[in-house]
Amino acid sequence: MLSAKNITYTIDGKTLLDDVSVNFEAGKLNLIIGPNGAGKSTLVKVICNQVQPSGKGTIYYGDKDVRTFSIAELARIRSVLSQNIELAFPLKVSEVVMMGRYPHFTGKPGPKDEAACEEAMRFFDVLDMAGRNYMTLSGGEKQRVHFARVLAQIWYKPAEGCRYLVLDEPLTFLDVRYQFDFMNKVTSLLKDENLVVVGVVHDLNLAAKFAGHIVLLHQGKVLSAGNREQVLSKENIRAAYGLEPVIHHDKDEMYLFFR
C-alpha cells in the first residue's frame, strides 16, 4: 500500500495541498481526478518524493516512511511517468527504454535488463520501433515508449514488498483506441497483488470504467474518495467542476454526460 498522511504543501503563500490523507491499495487501479489546479500533479510529486511536504505530513511505501529510502533505492521499486517528457538529444527507442533499467545495474546492462526491456516493449507494442530514432516518432508513439520504459523499470518483483507505478496523465497524446488499450493493459498488470498503481486522469468516463478506487481532489483537498458510485455523484461533480452531469447506468457500466 502507498499512503499519504496529512500532506500539506505550500509555495509562495499559496496552499496547493491542504491536509490530504489518502490510501492507494495494491491490486486495484487507483485514479486521481479533479479540475485543473486541484493539486493532482503536486500530490503525485509529493508521493514520489520529488518535493517535500510543507508540514508534518508523511508518505508511506508499505509501512516505511519514504524519507528512509535513498533516491536509488526508491527507483528500484517505484517508477513514475511524468507529463510532457522532451528528449534533449536524439536517441534510439531501445536506449530510451533501457533507461528504465538504470537503477538496476552499474556499467553495462545484463541479460535480465535486456529481457525486461524487450518484454516491456512487446507489451506496449513498440518492439518493432526499437531501432528507430525517438525524435521521429509521433506523440502517441513517444508516449508508448515511455510506458515501456517505466514498466521495464519495475519489471521484476522485488524480494519483498510491493512494486509501485505512478502515472501522471498517461493518456495525453493517445487516441481513443490506445487510451482503452493502455487502461486494459494496466488493468491486466494488476493481477499481481503486490503492484500498486496510481494514476492521474482527466476523463471521468475512463475513470468510471476502469478505476477500482477514485480520489477526487478539489482546491487542494480530498473532496471524495471511494468507488465510482461514491465519488462520481452529481453533487461531487457539481462542486468540483461546476457542471451539471447526467449519469446513465447501463448494465454494469456507468456513463457521464454534461448538459
Binding site: C48, Q50, I71, A72, E73, L74, A75, R76, R78, S79, V80, S82, I85, E86, L87, A88, F89, P90, L91, K92, S94, E95, V96, M98, M99, G100, Y102, P103, T106, K108, P109, N133, M135, T136, Q153
Partner: protein, 342 residues
C-alpha cells in the same frame, strides 16, 4: 546499445589519431624524418645526451606540443559533451559557465598590468593569472545564479547567468586591448585566439594529469548524464542524485577547461562541434560520446595545429582561427544532412 558499432568508431578514430600525430611531429618549421623521430626517442629512453638538432627539436618542441594538442583537444571535446548533456542544450560550449572568458580576462590583465608593474614574466605567471580569472568568473556565475528563495541554481538560471558574465568579461578584455599598447594588444589577441606554441613538458604533465583524471570521473557519470536527457525530474525518478551530478560534472568541467585554457588560451569551436559530429555517427549515448569525444577532439586539435604551423611557415597562425575556418563549414554541412534530427 550497440557496443560493437561504438568500438568500430573508436578503432577508426584511434588509427586517425596515430596518423595525425605522426604528421604533426614530422612537419613544421623544420621537417623531421621518421628516422630522426625514432632515433631521438631511443636516445631519450637510454638517456643519451648526444643528440642532433632535429632530434632535440623533436623531443623538446614537437613531442610536447603533439601531446599537448591531444590533451587539450580531449579536454575541450569532453567538456563540450559534459556541458551539452548537463544543460540539455545542443548550443552549449565548455566555456559556458564563464570559465574561458574569465581566463581570457585574467590573461589580458596580466599582459597590460604586467608591463606596467614590471611583473617578471616567468613560465607560470600567465597560466596562473588565466586560471585565477577562470575560477573567479565561474564562482561569480554560480553565486549569481542561485535563487534567493530556494538557494538552488536551476540549469536555465545558470545558462543565462553564464551568458551574461561571459559578455561582461569579454567586454573587459575588449577594454584592456583598447587601452593596451600595440605589442600588448597583439599578445592579448593572439592569446584569445589560442596558441600551443608555449608547449613544454611542464604544461604537458599538468594538463595531461587534469585531463586523464577528469575524463575518468566523467566516464563514471556517463549513464547519469544519459538519464538527464529525458529531464531532471525524470532522471531523479530513475534513481539519480541530481544535485550531486550537477556539482561533480560542473567541477570536472571547470578544472579541465581552466587548466587547459590557462596554458593555451581560448580555443573555440572544438567543444561545440565534436559532440555533434559524434552524435551524427552513433547517436547520443554519453559513454560513447565521452570516450570517442576525447579521441576526436585530440585528432581535430592536432590537425588544426598542424595547419596553423604550416599555413604561413615559418610564422604561426593562432589555432582558434584554424579551428573556426575549417570547423564552421564542415559543421554547417553536417547539420544540414538528413540524418541529424532535433
Amino acid at each position: 546499445m550497440d557496443n560493437k558499432q561504438y568500438r568500430g568508431t573508436s578503432f577508426i578514430l584511434l588509427i586517425l589519431l596515430v596518423i595525425v600525430l605522426l604528421l604533426s611531429m614530422k612537419y613544421g618549421a623544420v621537417n623531421i624524418s621518421l628516422d630522426e623521430i625514432f632515433s631521438g626517442f631511443s636516445k631519450w629512453l637510454h638517456n643519451n645526451e648526444n643528440m642532433t638538432l632535429n632530434e632535440r627539436i623533436f623531443l623538446q618542441i614537437r613531442l610536447p606540443r603533439a601531446l599537448l594538442c591531444i590533451f587539450v583537444g580531449a579536454t575541450l571535446a569532453v567538456g563540450g559533451v559534459l556541458m551539452q548533456a548537463l544543460f540539455r542544450n545542443p548550443i552549449v560550449e565548455p566555456g559556458l559557465v564563464g570559465t574561458s572568458s574569465g581566463a581570457a580576462f585574467g590573461a589580458a590583465l596580466y599582459f597590460v598590468m604586467g608591463a606596467t608593474f614590471k611583473v617578471n614574466a616567468g613560465e607560470w605567471t600567465l597560466p596562473l593569472a588565466a586560471c585565477a580569472g577562470g575560477i573567479l568568473s565561474t564562482a561569480f556565475v554560480f553565486m549569481l545564479s542561485q535563487s534567493k528563495q530556494t538557494g538552488k541554481s536551476s540549469i536555465v538560471a545558470l545558462l543565462l547567468t553564464g551568458i551574461a558574465i561571459n559578455a561582461l568579461f569579454m567586454s573587459g578584455v575588449g577594454f584592456l586591448s583598447y587601452i593596451a599598447r600595440d605589442p600588448q594588444a597583439r599578445s592579448i589577441t593572439f592569446w584569445n585566439l589560442g596558441t600551443l606554441s608555449g608547449a613544454s613538458w611542464h604544461s604537458v604533465i599538468i594538463i595531461g594529469t587534469s585531463t586523464v583524471i577528469c575524463i575518468a570521473i566523467a566516464l563514471r557519470y556517463a549513464r547519469h548524464l544519459n538519464a538527464l536527457m529525458i529531464g531532471e525530474e525524470e532522471a531523479q525518478y530513475l534513481g539519480i542524485n541530481i544535485k550531486k551530478l550537477k556539482a561533480v560534472i560542473l567541477l570536472v568541467n571547470v578544472v579541465m577547461v581552466a587548466t587547459a585554457t590557462a596554458f593555451v588560451g581560448v580555443i573555440s569551436f572544438v567543444g561545440l562541434i565534436v559532440p555533434h559530429l559524434l552524435r551524427m555517427i552513433n547517436g547520443s549515448d554519453n559513454r560513447f560520446l565521452i570516450r570517442n569525444g576525447a579521441l576526436l577532439g585530440a585528432i581535430l586539435l592536432s590537425a588544426a595545429d598542424l595547419v596553423a604551423r604550416m599555413a604561413l611557415r615559418p610564422a604561426e597562425l593562432p589555432i582558434g582561427i584554424v579551428t573556426s575556418i575549417i570547423g564552421v563549414p564542415v559543421f554547417i554541412v553536417l547539420l544540414r544532412s538528413k540524418n541529424y534530427f532535433f
